[in-house]
C-alpha cells in the first residue's frame, strides 16, 4: 500500500473550490466587459445586463470566501531567505531539475508570491469594485475617483487572471497537485519531493 498524508482538510478544499468557482465566474464575466472580443462571455450569466448586475455580488461572496482561505494559509506563506534561494534557481525549477533545490515548506516561493499577489489584487478589486458599482455606490463617489477605480479594477483583474492562469497550469504540470486539492491527500514520496520541510514536520521523521 502507498503511504499517503493529508495535505488539505475537507474544509480547506471546500473553501478553495468555492473561491475558485466564484473566481472563474468573476474572471469570465469581467473579461466580457473588459474587451469587445470577449463580450460573448456575457451569455454565461444570461446577457450583458445580468452580467453587470451579478458580477459585483459574486465578487463580494468570493472575497469573503477568499478571506477565510487567507486566514487558513497565512502562517504558511511567510517569505523566508530560503525562498529567495529557491527563486534564484527558477530555471532549474521550470526544467524539472529538482536536485539540490533548497528545501520547501508547506508552500514553495512561487505559491507564496501568488498568495501575496492575490491578497493585494483582491483588496484592490474589492475597493475599486465598490467605487464603480452601479447603481448603488458609484453615484456617491467623485468622478475622478470612479475613473481611477475603473482603471485600478481592470489592471488588478489583469494581474490576477495572469497569476491564476499560471497557478492552474502549475497544478496540471506538477502531477499529484490536483488530487491534493480534490481528494486531500498526497503520496509521501510526493510530499518529500516537493515539500520536504513540510513533510518532515507532518510526518515527524
Amino acid at each position: 500500500m502507498r503511504k499517503v498524508i493529508e495535505r488539505y482538510s475537507a474544509n480547506e478544499r471546500l473553501n478553495h473550490w468555492f473561491t475558485a468557482i466564484t473566481f472563474v465566474i468573476l474572471a469570465l464575466s469581467g473579461l466580457a466587459l473588459f474587451h469587445p472580443s470577449m463580450y460573448w462571455l456575457t451569455n454565461l450569466l444570461g446577457g450583458g445586463t445580468w452580467t453587470r448586475i451579478l458580477h459585483p455580488f459574486i465578487g463580494v461572496a468570493m472575497f469573503l470566501s477568499f478571506l477565510v482561505l487567507v486566514s487558513r494559509f497565512w502562517a504558511h506563506n511567510k517569505l523566508t531567505r530560503n525562498d529567495a534561494r529557491w527563486l534564484a534557481r527558477w530555471r532549474d525549477v521550470l526544467n524539472n531539475r529538482e536536485e539540490g533545490l533548497p528545501e520547501v515548506g508547506r508552500f514553495n516561493a512561487g505559491q507564496k508570491l501568488l498568495f501575496w499577489a492575490m491578497l493585494l489584487t483582491m483588496l484592490l478589486l474589492l475597493i475599486s469594485g465598490f467605487v464603480i458599482w452601479q447603481p448603488y455606490f458609484a453615484p456617491v463617489f467623485p468622478i475622478t475617483l470612479v475613473r481611477l477605480a475603473v482603471l485600478t479594477h481592470a489592471i488588478s483583474a489583469f494581474v490576477l487572471i495572469l497569476g491564476i492562469i499560471v497557478h492552474i497550469y502549475a497544478s496540471l504540470w506538477i502531477k499529484g497537485s490536483v488530487r491534493a486539492m480534490t481528494r486531500g491527500y498526497v503520496p509521501s514520496a510526493w510530499a518529500k519531493k516537493h515539500h520536504a520541510a513540510w513533510y518532515r514536520d507532518v510526518s515527524g521523521s
Binding site: M1, L33, S37, T49, I143, R147, L162, I165, A189
Partner: protein, 291 residues
C-alpha cells in the same frame, strides 16, 4: 434611441469598421448664450417631443428647475450670476449633450452598439443594448449621461436624431422664441457664429467667441459665449478632453492585455510540451512504501 435610417459612423465596443460608404452633411446646433432669455421653452419642447416628464422638484430660491439633468430631463437651463467685468451679468446656459466628434462615452462603453455616432455627427444611446454599467459617465468630459433610477439604463439628449433623420430640426430649436438656438450644417453654424461674435465684439464684448472645443474633436452642439476666454463662468470646462485615466484604461492597453493573457496560456501549454509533466517517480513511491 434606435434609429436605422441614419448612417452609423462609430459604434461602442466594436473593433471593426461600421458601414461608412454614404456621406451625410455634418450638422450642428448653435446656442447663442447672448440671445438666451432663459424662458425654458426648449426644456418644455424637449419633454414634449420625447415624451418625458420629470418629477416636480424643490424650489431652492433660484431659477434652475429642474436642478439637474436626469433620465427625464435631457436639457436644463443653468443660471449663473457673475460679474466678469465688475458689472453684474446673468449668464444662462442651456446644458445638455454636446455631441462630441470624439465621444468619450462611446469610447468607454463596453456594450456593443449601446452608443452610436451617426455620420452626421450626432451621438445617440441605444438603450435596448445598454447594460447600465455607468462607464459612459466616466468617459464624458461634460457630466452629461444619467443612469435612470427606474430601469438602470443611460439617457441623454439625442439631438432629436429621429427628427433630424427625416429632415426636421430638433424640437428645442423649433421652440426657441429669440433665435438663440439655430441648427444646420456644421460649416453654416460656424459661419453664423462668426457673425454673432463680430456683432458681440462691436458691442463691447471683446472676448466673445465660439465654444467648439478641439480637445474632443470639436462638438456638434456649440456655444457663442460673451466671455469665451472664461468658459468656466458658464460652468463649462476650459479645455475639455477625455480623462487620461479613461484613455489609458480604454486605449491600446486593452488589446495588449488580451494578447498577454493569450500568450500566457499558450506559453504554459508549450512549456508542458517542452519539458513535460513533473511526476513523482514510481520508484520513489515504492521505496517509500517499503521503508
Amino acid at each position: 434611441m434606435a434609429l436605422q435610417s441614419l448612417d452609423i459612423k462609430a459604434r461602442s465596443a466594436t473593433t471593426t469598421e461600421s458601414p461608412s460608404v454614404r456621406k451625410t452633411t455634418r450638422v450642428a446646433k448653435l446656442i447663442d448664450i447672448s440671445k438666451c432669455i432663459g424662458c425654458k421653452a426648449c426644456e418644455a419642447a424637449c419633454m414634449e417631443w420625447n415624451d418625458l416628464r420629470d418629477v416636480v422638484g424643490v424650489n431652492k430660491g433660484e431659477f434652475d428647475s429642474p436642478r439637474d439633468l436626469s433620465d427625464q430631463s435631457w436639457t436644463v437651463m443653468r443660471f449663473y450670476e457673475e460679474e466678469p467685468n465688475g458689472q453684474f451679468e446673468w449668464l444662462i446656459r442651456k446644458d445638455g449633450c454636446l455631441h462630441c466628434e470624439d465621444p468619450g462615452c462611446l469610447a468607454a462603453c463596453p456594450a456593443p452598439g449601446a452608443i452610436v455616432q451617426y455620420a452626421n455627427g450626432l451621438v445617440d444611446f441605444h438603450e435596448e443594448h445598454c447594460i447600465g454599467c455607468g462607464y459612459c459617465i466616466t468617459g464624458c468630459p461634460f457630466d452629461i449621461p444619467r443612469i435612470s433610477k427606474k430601469d438602470s439604463k443611460a439617457y441623454k439628449c439625442t439631438l432629436c436624431s429621429d427628427r433630424v433623420a427625416v429632415g426636421l430640426e430638433p424640437a428645442c430649436i423649433k421652440a426657441c422664441p429669440t433665435g438663440a438656438l439655430v441648427f444646420g450644417s456644421k460649416e453654416d453654424m460656424i459661419d453664423h457664429a462668426d457673425e454673432r461674435v463680430a456683432d458681440l465684439k462691436g458691442r463691447g464684448f471683446e472676448n466673445a467667441g465660439l465654444y467648439d472645443p478641439a480637445g474632443v474633436g470639436g462638438t456638434h452642439v456649440m456655444y457663442v459665449l460673451q466671455h469665451a476666454d472664461r468658459p468656466q463662468l458658464y460652468g463649462l470646462p476650459i479645455d475639455p478632453i477625455i480623462s487620461p485615466l479613461v484613455s489609458l484604461w480604454k486605449g491600446v492597453t486593452k488589446p495588449i492585455a488580451m494578447l498577454l493573457l493569450g500568450l500566457t496560456v499558450l506559453g504554459s501549454f508549450f512549456h508542458y510540451i517542452h519539458v513535460g509533466p513533473n511526476e513523482t517517480d514510481e520508484d520513489e513511491e515504492e521505496n517509500e512504501a517499503a521503508s
